[in-house]
Amino acid sequence: MYTGKSEGEVIRIKGDLMAGFHHNLPIKALPYILEELQSARHPYLIASAAYALRGLKTPLPQTVPYLLKAAGNLAHGDDTFFFDQDEHTTALKELFKTIKWHGAYAKAYIANVTALSDKLYLDREGKKLLKEAINAINGDARQTGNCCDEDLFCGGNIKPFGGIKKIKSLVLEDQEGGQIKYGEFFNGKPAVLVFFYSRCDNPDKCSLTITRLAHLQKQLEGKAKIAAITYDAEYDVAHRLKNYGLNRQIKFNNDVRFFRVNADFEQLRAYLDLGVNYIGPYVNKHTIELYVLNSKGEAVASFSRLQWENQEVINKVNSLLNSKKTTTAQSFYSILLSAGMAFFPKCPLCVMAYLSAFGISGMNALWVGNWLFPAMMVLFGINILVLAMRCRTNRFFLPLYLSCTGVVILIGDHLLLHEKAVTMAGLICILAGALTNAWGRRLQQMFGFGLVSA
């Protein structure tokens, strides 16, 4: 929506959209509003956000600190606007109106609200509005329940995005000018990835993001890789990346790097659905965004729009580190079972071997064994179940399709056809399913062919 639009147009569009929520603001839209209150500097965005907040069915105490922050961000100039009433308003007026509207819901922050008289320079009208807000808070007898019950924090798990394969071959250039592929760097360890650009002139966005990333680096103590990728690859050449990080206390090493993506940044942008827009080569709008990647470089959690809580990110990294062991066990079991099924006496090779060993000439003779076929079907069923779980996790369903095809062929053959070639075909499919389950990625890396994924 914002692509190709000037910054002024972006501000107007976003402000108008937010103002539209004045009569009904769904909770899902709240992060978009709070984002502007937390970091916007333009008075129209602040005014619209404050105006929109009054569209909530019930005030939320947790939104008050955002209103207070926005009041400070106005320090460089307010302006006049018109919303749907004829009376002109200003960003500061809207902020005070919204604080007033909170009433008792802002009681926990009454000291901070009162302190605005000292923090801001208010004329007579401003002081009057502030006093009205304070009186409204103090005079509101509503029972509001516990403050901060609802978690407004915007982080959470996300489904792994598709298309990771293309991303893995993206070439990243780091702060020393060295090059590495995405799949090589984001591999083997969980990672924390943020986006920024050095020409960002909003101190509450990129500068703060990288400063906080440095704090996170200290707290994570090497448990995860740390990376930042610039939105502005053309301008943010190696030495700019390096200085931006160093000046914000980032300690670079093999696992902590800043990157630019020279070509195909669009692929990464699409994969993560990045919150950035451009006008020509310049960023005209971007959000704050941090991603947690698993040890294969897949995004498994995102914290966007608002400044994240470090502990939430650390918790996510820890959960990835803990689940690695479980995943390893699951993989091993499935591979074992697959391999076991593949090489159970009914496998082609083993059949041949056994046939040779016992001198029996036909597979059908074995198939009519009463106990063998039902037992085989039970084992096949277990294999299909484990495969299905694994494929769903990896979003890679070829092994399942092959194994199911093999089972269907075998059942059909047993019930209808009784053809050696058909039996072979069924067993080959099952074997192929097991092999692709175990070795699919390696085959892809070796041969580069795209494998089916959902």
Binding site: A75, S198, R199, P203, L208, Y235
Partner: protein
């Protein structure tokens, strides 16, 4: 055989201002007898000169006779600049044998003080321009970005008055800020000092294509081909816009459209810091920024994009230094010198960073007060401290006040102004 130490260092190039700096002589190897020496200088009339004294509060003399002990212990004295240098190391201190006249030691010195930008020699001007242009080079390690980040929107409430309560540390913080930049420039060329733009006087040599730029009708500056500022760029964008309201050949900030007060009126704003500083922050400081109709210099968040910022603030700082001299304000224990004693008490109208004992953002790396006035990031790292000089790597407010070291030699920084002398005889601290 004989070792001369000035300001704790021996053998290295020496940079002095007007303040008396401790010095000593000693024999490197013990001798049977003490050595009588004469300390004097060799300098030309157009170069700098230094003087010597036995006591810190004695008037410096052109020569000093001392006895260097035979056993290798030091004899102490003081050395101070008496005339400003025009070139690097253009003064030579000679230590001669009092009996034979033989030269025992030579040490070069530069008397490096901040000068009126309108009176710089061509060489001084070019050295300054080269240093500041290199500091903002587009390649290498562009640390100039820190100076943009230290003076942006997020920093405003920390470093300026932005509410009804004055930010008393405004002058103090900016004194440290421009000293930080000056020391960065001195890493490139140690002979450079920040010139000041005396904005209440005609500065016809400053706003030219050879120096800080000549404005086109639109306000965009042009520079001569050899002027390094022609390559000045901020975030990849070239071209400085700065359109003077005053006539650069005949006018100044006293142009009635600008409303700036004169130097004398500035010094007369009050006899206490509490009266003087908040008013000076507004006029003449604010009016100096607004003596241009357009350009980054006219806006707090963009002012450091234009290198004239440092010349402007050097003059603001000089005015404070002059005020200190006229009203004898060096004693940090006096509220007339600075009103807020002790450290930030945790609450109140005056915020952290305003009290004498507080360390100053961003050099202290403090971002812990987010939610209050302190910015959430602290760019730039620690202050470039120098041995035996103030301030420290995390400067405290009080360390910027007695900048000439009246109370104690180590309280001095390496800043002096050409027109503000060091006169310990007449100052009580």
């Amino acid at each position: 055989m004989i070792v001369l130490t000035i300001n704790g260092q021996a053998g290295a190039p020496v940079y002095l201002g007007w303040s008396s700096r401790p010095a000593s002589l000693k024999l490197s190897v013990a001798q049977p007898q003490a050595t009588q020496v004469i300390i004097k200088t060799v300098s030309a009339p157009a170069t700098g000169d230094v003087g010597f004294s036995v006591n810190r509060n004695s008037h410096p003399a052109a020569t000093l006779a001392v006895t260097v002990p035979a056993n290798g212990t030091s004899v102490n004295f003081f050395v101070s600049g008496t005339r400003a240098s025009t070139e690097n190391q253009d003064v030579t201190i000679l230590v001669t044998d009092a009996g034979t006249g033989a030269t025992l030691l030579q040490q070069t010195v530069m008397v490096r003080v901040r000068k009126n930008a309108n009176g710089l020699s061509v060489a001084e001007r070019n050295r300054f321009l080269a240093a500041i242009a290199k500091f903002n080079a587009t390649t290498g390690t562009p640390r100039y970005q820190d100076f943009l980040d230290m003076h942006n929107a997020a920093a405003n409430t920390e470093i300026h008055t932005s509410s009804a309560t004055p930010r008393y540390s405004f002058l103090v913080w900016h004194r440290a800020f421009i000293l930080d930049l000056e020391r960065q420039l001195q890493k490139i060329d140690p002979s450079v000092s920040l010139p000041y733009w005396k904005f209440d006087e005609v500065a016809d040599k400053v706003f030219t294509a050879d120096f800080m730029g000549a404005a086109m009708a639109s306000g965009t500056l042009v520079f001569n081909a050899s002027n390094p500022l022609s390559h000045w760029a901020i975030n990849g964008r070239t071209g400085i816009v700065r359109k003077p309201i005053f006539n650069v050949q005949t006018g100044s900030g006293l142009d009635p459209r600008i409303g700036m007060i004169s130097e004398k009126a500035t010094i007369g704003l009050g006899t206490t810091y509490k009266k003087f500083a908040p008013q000076a922050e507004q006029n003449p400081h604010g009016n100096a920024h607004e003596s241009f109709s357009i350009g980054p210099i006219t806006n707090i968040t963009t002012a450091t994009q234009d290198p004239i910022f440092y010349l402007l603030h050097a003059n603001v700082d000089r005015l404070w230094a002059l005020w200190q001299q006229v009203h004898n304000r060096y004693d940090i224990t006096s509220v007339s010198t600075y009103p807020l004693k002790g450290a930030y008490p945790g609450q109140g109208r005056n915020h952290v960073g305003d009290f004498l004992q507080d360390t100053m953002w961003p050099w202290n790396g403090d971002t812990s007060h987010s939610g209050s006035t302190r910015p959430p990031t602290a760019p730039g790292g620690p202050f470039p401290a120098l041995a035996n000089l103030a301030p420290s790597v995390a400067p405290q407010v009080w360390q910027m006040i007695d900048y000439q070291g009246y109370a104690a030699a180590d309280d001095a920084s390496d800043v002096d102004y050409d027109s503000i002398n060091f006169n310990l005889q007449n100052v009580t601290v």
